[in-house]
C-alpha cells in the first residue's frame, strides 16, 4: 500500500471525488507558468482522442511554485470542457491538483503519484514534464497504452535525438545499465515515462532512498526488471524543452550516475548472477538520431580532466580504482591533447571500479561521484574528438560496441564487487 499519510486532506477529497480511474497522467510542476497550460491541454487532448471510454485523470503535483503556475491550473480547472460533436471523452476528465512541499523533488512528487495511483486503483500511469515544449497528445497515449493494454510494467520513452544530445546516456548510463541489469532500455533516465498500477504499488510500498529521489524513473525501471515485470519502449519523437540552464555536470552525475550506482547496490541480488542482455518491445519507430551540423565544443574538458585527475589521483582515485586502472589513467593523462584517447576498455573498467567503490563505500559516496566528473570530462573529450564527423550510423555502431564492451567486462565488475577492498 502507498503511504497515505503523505496525502493532504484536500487531495484525499479530490481523490474521493474521482473514485476509481483507469488512467492517470501526472505532471510534476515547479514554476512552469509558461508551459503548464499547454501541457495539461495536451494530456487532455490525448485522453479525448485515445481513451474516450476510460476513466481518466490528470494529477498535477506542485513543488511549491512561486510563479503563476498554480493560478493558471486553477483557471484551467474552472473552465468547462468545450462541447464538441466529434471525438470526445464520454466521461469526465478529472483534474487533480496538489502541492507536496515547498521545494521541488521529483521523488517526493512521485510518492504522491504512487499514493494517488494506489487509491484510485489505476491500471496505468504516465509522468510527463511540463518543461517539454514538444509534448504532443500522442505522447501520453504512447506511454500509457503498453501498460494499460499489454501488461507492460514500465514504459520508457524513445526520442529522436540529434547526434550530440544525451552523451552521458550514450556513453555511460545506457551501456552500463544494460550490461548490469540485462535489459536494453535506451532511455531509462527521462522526464517522461509510463508504468503500470502494479508497479506503482510495488514502488509505493518501498522507501525511496535519497540517492534516487532526483531521478526516480530509473529506480522504477530497475524495480520492474528485478521484480520480473515486463518493460517496453515507446517512440515519442523529437523532444524540445524550455531552456532552463539545468543542473551542472557535477549535479547531473550525482543525480543519474549516483542513481545507477545506488540501484546496482540495492538490487545486487538480481544482477550478480545474471548474464547477457534482452531487448525490450519497442512501440513505434526505434531510437532515432538526426545529423547535427557541428559537435559541441569540448572547451576546457581536456584541461579539466587532466587537472582533476592530477589533483585526485593520490587522495581519492587511489581508494576507488584498481591499480592497473589507475596506471592506465596516468598514462593517458600524460598524453598530448592532439593524441589523447580514452579507450573504451579503460572507460568501462573505470566505471566498474567506481561502482564497486560506491558499493563498498570506500570513501564518501558523494566524493566518489564527484571524483568521476573529471574522468567523464576526459572520456567526453575523447569521444567528441573521435566522432566530430561521424554519421548517425557510425555513432550508433560505436554505442553498440561500447555496450558490448560493458557486457564483456561484466565479470570484472563482479570480481571487483565481491572483492574485500
Amino acid at each position: 500500500m502507498a503511504d497515505e499519510s503523505l496525502l493532504s486532506e484536500d487531495l484525499l477529497r479530490q481523490l474521493m471525488s474521482v473514485g476509481e480511474a483507469d488512467l492517470l497522467v501526472a505532471i510534476p510542476t515547479y514554476n512552469n507558468a509558461g508551459t503548464i497550460a499547454q501541457a495539461i491541454q495536451s494530456i487532455e487532448d490525448s485522453y479525448q482522442q485515445n481513451f474516450v471510454r476510460d476513466r481518466v485523470a490528470i494529477l498535477n503535483v506542485d513543488g511549491g511554485s512561486s510563479d503563476q503556475t498554480q493560478q493558471i491550473i486553477a483557471n484551467l480547472n474552472g473552465k468547462k470542457d468545450s462541447i464538441r460533436r466529434g471525438i470526445t471523452s464520454l466521461r469526465t476528465v478529472h483534474r487533480i491538483t496538489t502541492q507536496y512541499g515547498r521545494s521541488p523533488s521529483q521523488g517526493s512528487a512521485l510518492k504522491v503519484v504512487f499514493s494517488a495511483a494506489d487509491l484510485l486503483r489505476v491500471k496505468a500511469c504516465a509522468v510527463v514534464s511540463p518543461a517539454t515544449t514538444s509534448l504532443d497528445p500522442a505522447w501520453a497515449a504512447n506511454l500509457l497504452r503498453p501498460a494499460y493494454r499489454q501488461d507492460f510494467a514500465f514504459v520508457a520513452p524513445l526520442y529522436s535525438r540529434s547526434k550530440f544530445q544525451g552523451l552521458l546516456a550514450r556513453n555511460l548510463l545506457y551501456p552500463m545499465s544494460r550490461a548490469v541489469f540485462g535489459v536494453r532500455i535506451r532511455e531509462m533516465y527521462a522526464d517522461e515515462w509510463g508504468f503500470s498500477g502494479r508497479l506503482a504499488s510495488e514502488c509505493g510500498s518501498q522507501p525511496m532512498d535519497e540517492a534516487v529521489r532526483a531521478r526516480p524513473e530509473a529506480w522504477m525501471a530497475v524495480n520492474a526488471i528485478c521484480n520480473g515485470m515486463k518493460c517496453s519502449q515507446s517512440y515519442l519523437g523529437p523532444r524540445t524543452t524550455v531552456p532552463t540552464g539545468g543542473p551542472d555536470i557535477v549535479e547531473t552525475i550525482r543525480q543519474t550516475v549516483g542513481n545507477l550506482f545506488y540501484c546496482c547496490d540495492a538490487f545486487q541480488d538480481h544482477w550478480l548472477d545474471r548474464n547477457g542482455t534482452e531487448s525490450v518491445q519497442t512501440f513505434g519507430a526505434d531510437h532515432e538520431l538526426t545529423p547535427e551540423d557541428a559537435p559541441p565544443r569540448p572547451d576546457k574538458s581536456f584541461e579539466l580532466f587532466r587537472n582533476g585527475f592530477q589533483t585526485l589521483q593520490d587522495a581519492v582515485l587511489k581508494s576507488i580504482l584498481a591499480k592497473d586502472t589507475l596506471v592506465q589513467l596516468k598514462q593517458i593523462a600524460a598524453m598530448d591533447i592532439d593524441k589523447f584517447d580514452f579507450p573504451s576498455e579503460l572507460w568501462v573498467r573505470v566505471l566498474y571500479d567506481f561502482a564497486a567503490a560506491y558499493h563498498r563505500t570506500a570513501i564518501s559516496r558523494d566524493h566518489i561521484l564527484q571524483a568521476l566528473v573529471p574522468l567523464y570530462r576526459g572520456q567526453l573529450f575523447s569521444f567528441l574528438a573521435d566522432h566530430a564527423q561521424s554519421t548517425p550510423e557510425e555513432m550508433e555502431a560505436n554505442t553498440e560496441a561500447l555496450c558490448l564492451e560493458f557486457e564483456r567486462q561484466k565479470p570484472y565488475l563482479i570480481e571487483r564487487w565481491k572483492a574485500k577492498s
Binding site: 471525488s17 462541447i83 460533436r85 478529472h94
Partner: protein, 548 residues
C-alpha cells in the same frame, strides 16, 4: 394540481404511451381493442398518469405498426368502432385522463384511397397530393432513414410508371405539402378527431413535410410554415388542445419547432438526445453526458415543454449521439447484434438495465424529476421484458401482462391466435412479471412507480420549475435544484454502482431544511459548510427545501 381546464395541462402531465392492440382484448380475437382498454382505465388512473398517448389505431395494412395509415377518420375494425373510441374517450375524460392520438401526416399507406387515386392516372385530381418524378435524380443526397431496408427515397410505381418520394418505407408515400388541398385535408382530419374530443396530437415525422432541391429536405422553412398554419387554426377553433412534435433532432434544431414568441408551432417536442444519455450516464457512472446535452438545450417559450422518455415503441434511437457514443451504447446495451435495428437498440427498459431494480428506479427517478413532461411506455411500470427475435421492433410491442393466468390476462383467445407471442421466459415472463402480482406487494416496481408518480404530481415544481445543476466534485453524483416560486426541490442521484459521498454547495439555501419527499424525514439544516450526503449504489434523494 392543475385544473382540468388549464390550457397548459400538457406541462403537468405524466403521459402513458400504449398501443390499443397490445393492452387488453375484450372480445377474445387475440388483439387488444378499445373496449379492453376502456376496461383498464381504472388501472391507469390508479397508476397516477394523467394523459394517454395512443399509437395509431386507424385502418392500416400494418406494415409499419399502424404508421402506414389507410384511413384517417375511422378505427381499425380489429380494435373496434368509432363508437368504441368515443366510449373510451369519455371514460378517460371522466377519470381526468387526457387522450393524445397519433397523427401521421408526412405520409400515408400506399393503400390509402388518396394514393390509390393519385397513382391511377397522371391526370387524376389527387395526383398532386403526393411527390412524383420521372427520374430518381431529384433531391440527391437526402439521407435514407431506414438504412436497413431502403436503398433510395424514391420508389418506382408500376401503375403510373413514375417514381414517388418516401422518406420512410417504400409503402409509405410522402404527401405533397406544396398542394393546398393536402393541407386542407389534413386539417379536416384533425377537426374530425378534435370534434370527437381528443386532447392533442402527436405529429409523426414532422421535419420531412416539404422537399426542396439542393437541401436535406429536413426542417425547411416551408415545413415550419405548414405547421404554423395548422397551429393557428387549432388555437382559433380548439383552444387548449396540444400538438406534440416528433423531430428526432438535436435540441437546437428542435427549438425551431416551438416557433416564435410564445410558441406558434408545437406545444411540446420530444427531447431525443437526452434519452440515450441517461442510459449512458448510468453505465459510465458519470453525469457528463446528461449535463452536456442539457447545456446544449436552448431555452424554449414559457408555454412550451420538452417531452422526456426512457423507452417507447421504437428502437432506443442512437441517431442523436456521436459515433463513439453509439459504439459504446451498442457494446454496453446490445452486445448481441440481434438487439440492434436501424441506428438503435430494440429493447425494453428492464432488459436494458439487466432487470436491476435499483437502476430502473434511478432512471425513472431521473425521468420524473428532470424538466419536461415524462412519458412512460406501457409495461415498463412493471418491468416487462422483450423478445428481440420477433422481427422489426415487435419485441417491445408484446401483450400487456395483467396476471399469471391464461394469456397473461390479456385475451381469452387461444394463445396461437394472439397478435404476438407473450413474453414467457423465466425472468420476464408473465407468470412472474404481471400487474396482479405486483399490486399485491407494497414493494413491487408497480407500487414504487405509483408512489413516485404521486409525489411528482403533488409538486408542480417538477413540471414547471426551473432547473439549476450543482457541480459537486464527485462526478458520479448528478444533483440539481428545481424551483418554482417558493417551492424548491433538491434532487441528488448516485449514478454509480457503489456508495458515494458528496458535498453539495447549497450556500444559496442556507437555513433551509431538506425534507426527504418519500419518507418525509427531516435532514440537518443547511449551514455554512458544504452539505454532506452519502448515497447507496444507484440511490437518489428528492428533498423539499423548506425554510422552517
Amino acid at each position: 394540481m392543475a385544473p382540468q381546464d388549464d390550457k397548459l395541462w400538457y406541462k403537468d402531465a405524466v403521459i402513458y404511451q400504449l398501443h390499443v392492440r397490445t393492452f387488453c382484448d375484450s372480445d377474445g380475437n387475440g388483439v387488444g381493442d378499445f373496449r379492453g382498454l376502456t376496461n383498464k382505465l381504472d388501472y391507469l388512473q390508479e397508476l397516477g398518469i394523467n394523459a394517454i398517448w395512443l399509437l395509431p389505431f386507424y385502418p392500416s395494412p400494418l406494415r409499419d405498426d399502424g404508421y402506414d395509415i389507410a384511413d384517417y377518420t375511422s378505427v381499425n375494425p380489429t380494435y373496434g368502432t368509432i363508437e368504441d373510441f368515443k366510449t373510451f374517450l369519455n371514460a378517460a375524460h371522466a377519470r381526468k385522463l387526457r387522450v393524445i392520438t397519433e397523427l401521421v401526416v408526412n405520409h400515408t399507406s400506399d393503400q390509402h384511397p388518396w394514393f390509390q387515386e393519385a397513382r391511377s392516372s397522371r391526370d387524376n385530381p389527387k395526383r398532386d397530393w403526393y411527390v412524383w418524378s420521372d427520374t430518381d435524380d431529384k433531391y440527391k443526397g437526402v439521407r435514407i432513414i431506414f438504412i436497413d431496408t431502403e436503398m433510395s427515397n424514391w420508389s418506382w410505381d408500376p401503375i403510373s410508371k413514375t417514381y414517388y418520394w418516401h422518406r420512410f418505407f417504400s409503402h409509405q408515400p410522402d404527401l405533397n405539402y406544396d398542394n393546398p388541398a393536402v393541407k386542407e385535408a389534413v386539417w379536416e382530419v384533425m377537426k374530425f378527431w378534435l370534434d370527437i374530443g381528443v386532447d392533442g396530437f402527436r405529429l409523426d415525422a414532422v421535419p420531412y413535410l416539404v422537399e426542396r432541391e439542393g437541401t436535406s429536405c429536413e426542417n425547411l422553412p416551408e415545413t415550419h410554415t405548414v405547421i404554423k398554419e395548422l397551429r393557428a387554426r387549432l388555437d382559433d377553433s380548439y383552444p387548449g388542445k396540444m400538438l406534440l412534435a416528433e423531430a428526432n433532432m438535436w435540441p437546437a434544431d428542435v427549438r425551431d419547432y416551438f416557433g416564435q414568441g410564445d410558441g406558434d408551432e408545437f406545444h411540446m417536442a420530444f427531447h431525443f438526445p437526452l434519452m440515450p444519455r441517461m442510459f449512458m450516464a448510468v453505465k459510465l457512472e458519470d453525469r457528463k453526458p446528461i449535463i452536456e446535452i442539457l447545456e446544449q438545450t436552448p431555452q424554449i417559450p414559457e408555454k412550451c415543454q420538452w417531452c422526456v422518455f426512457l423507452r417507447n415503441h421504437d428502437e432506443l434511437t442512437l441517431e442523436m449521439v456521436t459515433d463513439i457514443e453509439r459504439d459504446y451504447m451498442y457494446d454496453s446495451f446490445a452486445n448481441d447484434k440481434t438487439m440492434r435495428i436501424n441506428l438503435g437498440i430494440r429493447r425494453r427498459l428492464a432488459p436494458l438495465l439487466e432487470n436491476d431494480r435499483r437502476r430502473i428506479e434511478l432512471l425513472n427517478g431521473l425521468l420524473l424529476s428532470m424538466p419536461g413532461t415524462p412519458i412512460i411506455y406501457y409495461g415498463d411500470e412493471i418491468g416487462m421484458g422483450d423478445n428481440v427475435y420477433l422481427g422489426d421492433r415487435n419485441g417491445v410491442r408484446t401483450p400487456m401482462q395483467w396476471n399469471g393466468g391464461w394469456n397473461a390476462g390479456f385475451s381469452s383467445s387461444d394463445p396461437e391466435r394472439l397478435y404476438s407471442p407473450l413474453i414467457s421466459n423465466p425472468v420476464y415472463g408473465y407468470q412472474s412479471v404481471n400487474v396482479e402480482a405486483q399490486r399485491r406487494t407494497e414493494h413491487s416496481l408497480l407500487s414504487w412507480t405509483k408512489s413516485v408518480i404521486q409525489t411528482r404530481n403533488s409538486f408542480r415544481v417538477f413540471s414547471r420549475g426551473s432547473i439549476d445543476f450543482l457541480s459537486p466534485s464527485n462526478h458520479r453524483v448528478l444533483a440539481y435544484v428545481r424551483q418554482l416560486g417558493e417551492e424548491k426541490v433538491l434532487v441528488v442521484n448516485n449514478l454509480s454502482s457503489s456508495a458515494q459521498a458528496v458535498e453539495l454547495n447549497l450556500q444559496s439555501f442556507k437555513g433551509h431544511i431538506p425534507i426527504e419527499m418519500f419518507g418525509r424525514n427531516l435532514f440537518p439544516r443547511i449551514g455554512e459548510l458544504p452539505y454532506l450526503l452519502t448515497l447507496a449504489p444507484y440511490q437518489f434523494f428528492w428533498f423539499r427545501l423548506r425554510r422552517i
